[in-house]
């Protein structure tokens, strides 16, 4: 069993990992940049080590300093959190080569899943439905136009190494395709050091639904139901729910089984997410996130399972504490991401509380939110026996959340949660853009 763990991340996910480690009796060392010296994770951990200056490329992305810190601080494992190096195969390899346990899947699996084209082919090989697209990368305009001819518009140009909307373009004609191909490729090259792009049929307004997987090293692969992450702003998730209002028990089984089959074949271990688009009752494989996700508490709420604990047990070669048939999906859970819109000192912070409310945050009164990193500052999770009950609770809890000194999206989240279209549940990924256009959120 792991005795001492380096947390190679910051913010709420670092605190999240520290909390589970404390409950498991694991010593934590948190790696931090100069800007995060006074952060709550640093104060909460058993020890801390400064690994670089404020800019992430020199600290949280500094593989050499992170691995050295893990070794010299006497850790036997490294948790990469989310973002930063969490899906970086080279980092996972360096951690392993230094004799430490990387909390995540094997580097080769990370690498394969990081290539969106290879991941999609793996799914296709298993007969998992995928969105029709080019068979592989499109190297030039001619190849692209040929593929487009047989697929039909609208299409989406995607980066093979991508994520987060970078290198992504929607095109509706040969002309547009010819125009953006080079731009998308250059953007991909800049973001991921890999300019490979491919084409996919563009679904106009689908639901984004993903399956949470946990897998150990004894061959157990279990899914924890789905999360509906359809409410997105510029491909960034804002609100996540489980169960999804559009997923029937039959669809849940099909998606769950597809996700389990895929990750079993790939020899995946730890926590991972298989992302699908759902359109008119059908699901299409999109990609795999080879790490724990920001929205994992939603699945924890409906299953009662601590996903970070399962990651750590899997990495320790321990068997999972349950089987698929033990996983009971109960009630409804929803998460609102609270994002900062400005850096600055938090002058007042009051957390919501009471029945069915969970708060994950690294904020405290007096904390200075630095301008260097991701804008996520808190995750508010509410449960209910039903979706209406859970959403009423979320409205109530958002009303209690008080953050002063910095600007946040709390008011906008309240408006989304209260909006009749969101409440009714009939919408696709365009919901947020539509509401913004209508001025319904201002």
């Amino acid at each position: 069993m792991i005795q001492s763990l380096l947390v190679a991340n910051r913010g709420e996910i670092a605190l999240r990992v520290i909390r589970t480690c404390r409950e498991m009796g694991i010593r934590t060392v948190v790696a931090h940049s100069v800007a995060d010296r006074d952060s709550l994770p640093v104060r909460s951990a058993d020890a801390s080590v400064c690994i670089g200056p404020a800019p992430a490329r020199d600290s949280y992305l500094n593989i050499r300093n992170l691995v050295t810190a893990g070794v010299l601080c006497g850790c036997d494992a490294v948790h990469p959190g989310v973002g930063f190096l969490s899906e970086n195969a080279a980092f996972a390899r360096e951690v392993r080569d230094a004799g430490l346990i990387f909390i995540g899947p094997d580097p080769d699996v990370i690498e394969l899943l990081g290539d969106k084209i290879r991941a999609k082919r793996s799914a296709m090989d298993l007969g998992i439905p995928v969105i029709p697209g080019s068979a592989g990368p499109v190297g030039n305009v001619k190849e692209a136009l040929d593929a487009a001819g047989s697929l039909g518009y609208p299409l989406i140009v995607k980066a093979a190494a991508g994520g987060g909307g970078k290198g992504m373009r929607i095109v509706r004609s040969d002309r547009e395709l010819s125009d953006v191909l080079a731009v998308a490729s250059q953007e991909a090259m800049k973001a991921f050091a890999d300019g490979t792009v491919y084409l996919e049929k563009y679904l106009e307004n689908p639901r984004h639904v993903e399956i949470q997987i946990v897998a150990d090293r004894k061959g157990n692969v279990v899914h924890l139901g789905e999360r509906d992450c359809t409410v997105q702003q510029n491909h960034q998730k804002l609100i996540e729910e489980s169960p999804s209002i559009v997923v029937t028990p039959e669809l849940r089984s099909r998606m769950g089984e597809d996700a389990v089959r895929l990750l079993r074949v790939l020899g995946y271990t730890g926590a991972g997410t298989v992302e699908f688009l759902v359109d008119e009752g059908r699901h299409y494989f999109m990609e795999v996130n080879a790490r724990v996700q920001v929205e994992h508490p939603v699945s924890e709420a409906v299953t009662g399972i601590d996903i970070i604990r399962q990651q750590i047990l899997a990495a320790s070669d321990e068997a999972m504490e349950f089987r698929q048939e033990d996983v009971m999906l109960g009630g409804y859970a929803v998460e609102c991401r609270i994002n900062a819109r400005s850096a600055g000192r938090v002058t007042r912070f009051e957390s919501p509380g009471g029945f069915g409310v969970r708060m994950d945050t690294f904020l405290y009164a007096g904390y200075f939110v630095p301008p260097w990193y991701d804008h996520l500052v808190a995750k508010l999770i509410c449960v209910g026996r039903t979706r209406p009950e859970g959403l009423r609770r979320m409205e109530r809890a958002l009303g209690e959340l008080t953050i002063e000194g910095i600007d946040t999206n709390t008011a906008m989240q309240r408006k989304i949660v209260a909006h009749p279209r969101f409440r009714k549940g009939v919408y696709g990924t365009s919901l947020l853009g539509d509401l913004l256009k209508e001025g319904a959120l201002s």
């Binding site: 104060r43 080590v49 400064c50 050295t68 007096g366």
Partner: protein, 144 residues
């Protein structure tokens, strides 16, 4: 007004709830002021106090006329190129720009660090073989 009167006044003022006091009489002028009570922000004090690593970068401070050379990476600090070799630098040594002063080992690589200017070693701040975090002060030096 005698000094002892001033002392008495200071004491009374300190105990009082006042924040400022001015007094002027026959060429005597007194003004007293308390620090403003700004809210004492700061992270919560957790029962488990975090361990600190050797030579945290807050302390020590450079003295007057001296400056600190800090660790540019996380690693193990070595004063000599090999266990049986003499140290690159001792306290009081004058080191020419470009000459090695220490090694930081990280991921089995020995990273040699050179003096960036002519300097005198005023103090060696880390013990040989100890881990240093990013920004940890290694040497207090004086430019020469």
């Amino acid at each position: 007004m005698e000094l002892k009167d001033l002392y008495a006044l200071m004491e009374k003022f300190e105990k009082s709830g006042l924040s400022e006091l001015g007094y002027k009489k026959d060429g005597t002028e007194i003004s007293l002021k308390k620090p403003s009570a700004t809210p004492s922000y700061g992270p919560p004090a957790y029962p488990t106090a975090p361990e600190t690593h050797p030579a945290p970068s807050e302390a020590p401070q450079a003295g007057s006329g001296t400056e600190l050379i800090r660790a540019p990476l996380v690693g193990t600090f070595y004063r000599a190129p090999a266990p049986d070799a003499p140290p690159f630098a001792e306290k009081g040594d004058m080191i020419k720009k470009g000459k090695p002063i220490c090694i930081l080992e990280a991921m089995k690589l020995m990273n040699e660090f050179q003096a960036e200017f002519d300097l005198e070693i005023v103090e060696i701040l880390v013990d040989d073989g100890k881990m240093v975090e990013f920004g940890a002060p290694l040497f207090e030096v004086r430019r020469i």
